[in-house]
């Protein structure tokens, strides 16, 4: 098995606010991230696909296809967007790293047909990230 990883970067704004909680609770739980005017990050996304190299092309999958998929599904949807307002897949969810990574996993997984999606890693900054794997892969549950 070979693991191939492609990295992209996008910039987006968001705000952490749960309307089911009081203003004071929102402030206590989310701190600075609760600023109603929003704030933004430069996100780095790493997408890892696992598979065997094709005997003819030597590729797990065509990187050009993966690049186009990431452009279509992630860049066009999220780059220079407000994640709470402009990304329907995140509607009603707090756009944390965990939730954004899971949305990206669910967008990409059915569309990767050569090899299998192995990991989605989304960095909000160099010290904070979320990983998604397939449930049940290598002891994960």
């Amino acid at each position: 098995m070979v693991y191939l990883t492609r990295k992209i970067e996008f910039s987006a704004s968001h705000v952490y606010h749960n309307p089911a909680l009081s203003a004071a609770e929102n402030k206590r739980i989310f701190g600075k991230c609760n600023n109603p005017h929003g704030h933004g990050h430069n996100y780095t996304l790493e997408v890892t696909v696992a598979g065997e190299p094709d005997p003819v092309t030597g590729m797990v999958l065509d990187l050009k296809d993966l690049k186009e998929l990431l452009e279509r599904e992630v860049m066009q949807r999220m780059d220079h967007r407000h994640l709470n307002i402009e990304v329907p897949e995140l509607a009603g969810q707090i756009p944390t790293c965990e939730n954004i990574a899971r949305v990206i996993w669910n967008l990409l997984d059915p569309k990767i047909t050569q090899g299998k999606l192995h990991r989605v890693r989304l960095y909000e900054n160099s010290d904070l990230f979320a990983d998604c794997y397939r449930n049940g892969s290598a002891g994960r549950s």
Binding site: T5, Y16, T96, E98, N106, A130, N135, A138
Partner: protein, 146 residues
């Protein structure tokens, strides 16, 4: 909230600087010098360590988080960063009094200290000693590295 068919982990990185000396009292001076080289310098030396902590769990639908970061930061700061930062690991951390504080051992010790985090399951601890050397410990978790 059930994460569905996806296993989600939260990763957080912390930084501390500390000195250490690699020296085993079970070995002769020559053997220590041969095995540990420069790291055996009796005056010690130091590194800027990065500790990567990975945790898994359900994403809480109220907060969108596996674990509140403030809780995690407080836990890690109290158990690892405060006792290790700007310290001599050999002389000031009792856990390393009788073992050689290689980064392998350091990684296992940090995992042990963080294992009881109450809000999520500890999956792995990775310690980056320099940009060229890093170590990862997963306890009894079965994992595939990538």
């Amino acid at each position: 909230m059930n994460n569905g068919s996806v296993h989600v982990e939260l990763g957080r990185r912390y930084h501390f600087a500390a000195s250490h000396r690699l020296h085993s009292p079970q070995l002769s001076e020559e053997e220590n010098c041969r095995i540990y080289g420069k790291c055996n310098n009796p005056y010690g030396h130091g590194h800027n360590y990065t500790v990567e902590v990975r945790l898994s769990g359900q994403i809480d639908p109220t907060t969108g988080m596996i674990s509140n970061l403030a809780d995690l930061d407080e836990f890690v700061n109290e158990r690892v960063i405060e006792p290790f930062d700007h310290r001599s690991l050999n002389e000031e951390v009792p856990a390393f009094r009788n073992v050689v504080p290689t980064t392998e051992i350091l990684c296992i010790e940090i995992f042990r200290r963080l294992q009881s985090f109450p809000h999520a399951r500890l999956e792995a601890v990775k310690v980056v000693e320099t940009s060229n050397n890093s170590f990862e410990y997963t306890g009894n978790n079965q994992r595939t590295q990538t």
